[in-house]
């Protein structure tokens, strides 16, 4: 490692940089790869530009240091290399103070400009979303549309700015959508605001970025950016209570749901279940996952979750449910009708 020519250093860095890009693009195309290097939101794209600028400046200075180091090590092999006196005040001042000062002031200035741009969206926010952080899931409200309550999923119209108001109900969390916007923490007793805006439709995975206890790892949410028309349709569906016509089995499932302990913790608008401890389940059928990203939303995992969610997401607040063998399929079929 010690005696590499300067050229090898630069080649290795270029190789590494391409590796980075390749990986960013390749992984998963149905859902956008969760990555800060694959930015499609205004905020994240600006920071991505800043990152590549700082990356290349760093690689240049790293090459400079490697050249100096390599030269010093290479020089020692020459016969008669003798100790030169002097204090090299000039070299240390120029390389160690003047050059870094110039680079730092430029980078600091760009940083100020980008930070200023992050403060407010380009045009006034047309949609407001209230997010309440819980220990280990996200409660989502759309104040403009009465009754529009969901969990771990947030839809936003493409091309429009969305104001996101952040509160928390227990401990500190952090709202981070890597592809769209740098993170903002949810602080006790404080209302924090951030905004999202993207021109590219797609679903972007987001995750809590402040250690908040055992299941901090599985406190994800999906931000779905879609054209205005489908956004309005989704919002209407979400705001609407569960009124789909039920088959006999599904009706029995509904009865099981209302009499058992489910109703004491969960709300399904349009039924007698009004518990507020757990998430609102009115549109559980159409959600992207169970347990804020802990398991995919299909019949098998739903059954496993209802019977004993501690096996999938240990430590979460939902105790195992004693649902009898014949009631379970009815309950599942009912839950899947809640679109």
């Amino acid at each position: 490692m010690a005696r590499r020519g300067p050229l090898a250093g630069v080649r290795r860095c270029a190789l590494m940089a391409c590796g980075l890009l390749l990986v960013g693009a390749a992984a998963g195309c149905s859902r956008e790869a969760q990555s800060t290097l694959h930015a499609s939101g205004d905020g994240a794209r600006r920071i991505e530009g800043l990152w590549w600028l700082m990356f290349w400046i760093s690689m240049a200075i790293f090459a400079e240091v490697m050249v100096l180091l390599g030269w010093a090590l290479w020089r020692r092999r020459r016969a008669g290399a003798r100790v030169r006196g002097g204090d090299a005040l000039g070299m240390v001042t120029v390389l160690g103070v003047v050059a870094p000062l110039v680079i730092l002031v430029v980078v600091y200035g760009l940083g100020l400009r980008d930070l200023d741009a992050l403060a407010a969206p380009p045009q006034k926010a047309s949609v407001t979303v209230d997010v309440m952080g819980h220990q280990w899931w996200w409660e989502i409200h759309y104040p403009d549309r009465a009754g529009a309550v969901t969990a771990n999923e947030m839809h936003i119209p493409v091309g429009e700015s969305v104001l996101v108001r952040l509160r928390m109900a227990d401990v500190q969390h952090s709202f981070w959508v890597p592809n769209l916007m740098p993170k903002t923490d949810l602080i006790a007793g404080k209302l924090n605001k951030t905004w999202l805006r993207t021109d590219r439709a797609g679903s972007y995975r987001a995750q809590c970025a402040e250690y908040c206890g055992q299941q901090h790892a599985f406190m994800a949410l999906l931000v779905v950016a879609e054209p205005r028309a489908s956004f309005d349709a989704w919002l209407a569906r979400t705001a609407q209570p569960a009124t789909t016509t039920l088959t006999a089995a599904q009706a029995r499932g509904k009865a099981v749901f209302e009499q058992s302990s489910c109703a004491s913790c969960h709300t399904v608008r349009g039924t007698s279940a009004v518990g507020t401890v757990g998430p609102d389940l009115t549109t559980i059928g159409s959600r992207w996952s169970l347990g804020a990203g802990a398991a995919p939303n299909d019949a098998g995992h739903l059954a496993g979750w209802v019977v004993n969610s501690q096996t999938i997401k240990p430590g979460n607040a939902m105790p195992p449910q004693p649902v009898s063998a014949q009631d379970l399929p009815a309950l599942l079929s009912y839950l899947q009708t809640l679109k």
């Binding site: 960013g24 998963g28 800043l50 010093a72 870094p100 730092l104 600091y108 901090h216």
Partner: protein
């Protein structure tokens, strides 16, 4: 080297300063060399335990959705890994280096307060035992090393885990503060005659600057931990917004300590680099005043950068920018140091040995860590990647690269002086390459998984996010790194047991510790050497004085003036005593009493503390003439 003309006087000194190797003297020693060695061994053991914590975590994270660890176990492991590495390994290890080397480098016979030094070690050892034993019973702290409230406050962390955290750190704070005071007073008052401030070795500058940072940083942590304990145990409301408290108060208080603390960890290591480099470049480090400038300015600015840990908490952007400015411009002193070392190599005749290899490894990793550090100083970019694996990669590059590499260089460099035995060169070369390769394989991929949006402190992750390959590489790297560190351990144990006896000055170093025997006699210097320049051992006036000068007899040490090292007089050094151990045990009783809510026991312990300290400082019986009565 220091064979004086009067052997009789040497035997007299040996008899007065020496401690018969017995169990009693093991517990009652006040010799800074024995205490320094003990600090390093204990910190080394804690490093191994915290390192094993990291290995288990890396095994859990090797594959997605792994079940090696439950979330609760993982949380305790990552908290103990962070807390132990920062509090129980790095600062004590460098206090060990400082304890052993500062008196030798400044030509003193011991630290200014030898018994206080022993007391500091015992308190550190007991605090470490208390914190690690909580891990054995599964009650280790699990709130992260910076333990943000409200998660670490009562309703959300009801176990005793966080009481272990706050009381353990309060207990440890006693030892760190005492060590810092001891270093400052030793460096100010006990330098060899002639050693004015511009002739003080850079390692001593680094240790004294670190001590001043400890003096001004630890109080913020102590206040924060005291408030947390009062909140948790007695229902105070410092951090409870419902009753007028403020959760950001914890973050401010913690990070006012937190960031100076990471410089408290790195600064002694930078001092070690400046102490080891001259021996392998056959010349002093260039631009000595600029290096002193960077040590002093880094120490001061480190107190004005703490809010860069809180850039995502929604404070006014103008407040952020003051700290972003200081965090960005603190790079310049680091830049001065890096280019000064490179200039020293360029202007010197390099001799490649293992310590020098670790210095090269240090420069490569610390420079990379420095770049990502500057990136974090820019608020906008920090908001995107803070609390992700990118920050995990950054601080391992600057903490492992910046502190552990120089520490390993220091261990190999001073092993002959500390133990009197030489290490095996071939084995240590293998150790270096394994560590360098393992380190980069472990932590470089974390930059990438961080940029791919992987948050830190997650016990597991789903498989479809593109993080798997990077985490697997990191785990493989961790095993290589562990192998390298194991080779270091084997090399040191082999050297101590069966190594070749080392000469007094195997490297031709320039600082005064190479003027003593290996290992140094109990009294260090028979003749307190006059200093005439920055490199005493390369200055024949000092070396001849060491050999032929006048012996300072008795259990005496010389004190000199603060700025110019003019001789002021001599002071009587205290004998060995068991009171430091007794006082440390008394405080342990108080801490355990508070931890288990046996408040009467804590009360009794407090009485014992007063009793032992009163006895410790009790002045000797003096006749009126001797004391001087009008």
């Amino acid at each position: 080297m220091s064979v004086s003309t009067e052997p009789a006087k040497l035997d007299q000194l040996e008899q007065e300063w020496g401690e018969r190797p017995s169990l009693h003297s093991w517990f009652s020693t006040v010799d800074h060399k024995r205490i320094g060695r003990r600090y390093m061994v204990t910190a080394g053991i804690f490093f191994i335990i915290a390192g094993l914590d990291a290995m288990i975590m890396r095994t859990q994270l090797a594959r997605p959705n792994a079940t090696v660890l439950s979330p609760e176990e993982y949380d305790q492991l990552f908290t103990m890994h962070g807390t132990a590495m920062i509090f129980l390994f790095s600062t004590p290890m460098f206090f060990g280096f400082g304890n052993f080397l500062v008196p030798l480098m400044i030509g003193a016979r011991d630290m200014a307060f030898p018994r206080l030094n022993a007391f500091g070690y015992w308190v550190f050892a007991f605090a470490g035992i208390v914190m690690f034993s909580s891990q054995l019973v599964g009650k280790a702290p699990d709130g992260g090393w910076f333990g943000y409230v409200p998660l670490t406050d009562k309703p959300y962390s009801s176990g005793i885990n966080l009481d272990v955290y706050s009381l353990g750190l309060l207990f440890l704070g006693v030892s760190t503060t005492i060590g810092a005071i001891n270093f400052i007073v030793t460096a100010l008052k006990m330098r060899a005659p002639g050693m004015s401030l511009n002739r003080v070795p850079l390692f001593v500058w680094a240790i004294v600057a670190t001590s001043f940072m400890v003096i001004f940083a630890l109080p913020a942590l102590n206040v924060a931990n005291a408030m947390l304990f009062l909140d948790r145990r007695f229902g105070a409301h410092f951090f409870d917004p419902a009753h007028g408290g403020n959760t950001l108060l914890w973050q401010h208080l913690f990070w006012i300590f937190g960031h100076p603390d990471v410089y408290i960890i790195v600064m002694p290591a930078l001092g070690i680099v400046s102490a080891v480099l001259p021996a392998f470049c056959r010349r002093g480090v260039v631009a000595y005043p600029l290096l002193v400038l960077s040590i002093v300015t880094i120490s001061i600015i480190s107190f004005g950068v703490w809010v860069h840990h809180m850039f995502a908490t929604g404070l006014p952007q103008l407040s952020y920018s003051f700290f972003s400015a200081a965090s960005t411009l603190i790079t310049i002193p680091s830049g001065i140091q890096i280019f000064a070392w490179l200039a020293t190599m360029l202007r010197g005749r390099i001799v490649v040995r293992t310590p020098f290899l670790f210095l090269v490894g240090f420069i490569v990793t610390f420079v990379l860590g420095g770049f990502t550090g500057v990136m974090f100083a820019i608020t906008a970019f920090d908001q995107q990647v803070t609390d992700s694996y990118f920050v995990v990669a950054h601080f391992h590059y600057v903490l492992f690269g910046g502190a552990v590499f120089p520490m390993l260089a220091g261990i190999y460099f001073w092993l002959p002086k500390i133990t009197g035995k030489m290490y095996a060169e071939r084995l240590s070369r293998w150790a270096f390459w394994l560590i360098f390769l393992g380190f980069n394989t472990t932590f470089f991929p974390m930059h990438i998984s961080g940029l791919l949006g992987m948050p830190r402190r997650i016990y597991s992750y789903p498989g479809d996010l593109g993080w798997d390959v990077w985490n697997l590489i990191s785990t493989i790297g961790a095993y290589i790194l562990a192998a390298g560190l194991l080779l270091v351990l084997i090399g040191v144990i082999h050297a101590v047991r069966r190594g070749a006896p080392a000469e007094d000055d195997p490297w031709g170093g320039d600082t005064l510790e190479w003027g003593t025997a290996s290992p140094p006699p109990p009294y260090n210097f028979a003749v307190v050497p006059p200093v005439h320049g920055l490199h005493p051992m390369w200055d024949e006036r000092t070396t001849t004085a060491l050999a032929t000068g006048k012996v300072l007899e008795g259990h005496q040490a010389m004190t000199t003036s603060e700025l110019d090292g003019q001789v002021e007089g001599t002071i009587e050094m205290p004998e060995e005593s068991l009171l430091p151990l007794a006082a440390a045990l008394a405080i342990l009783v108080v801490v355990l009493g508070l931890l288990w809510s046996w408040y009467w026991m804590a009360g009794v312990g407090a009485l014992f503390v007063f009793g032992t300290v009163a006895r410790w400082l009790w002045p000797p019986e003096r006749s009126p003439e001797e004391a001087g009565v009008a």
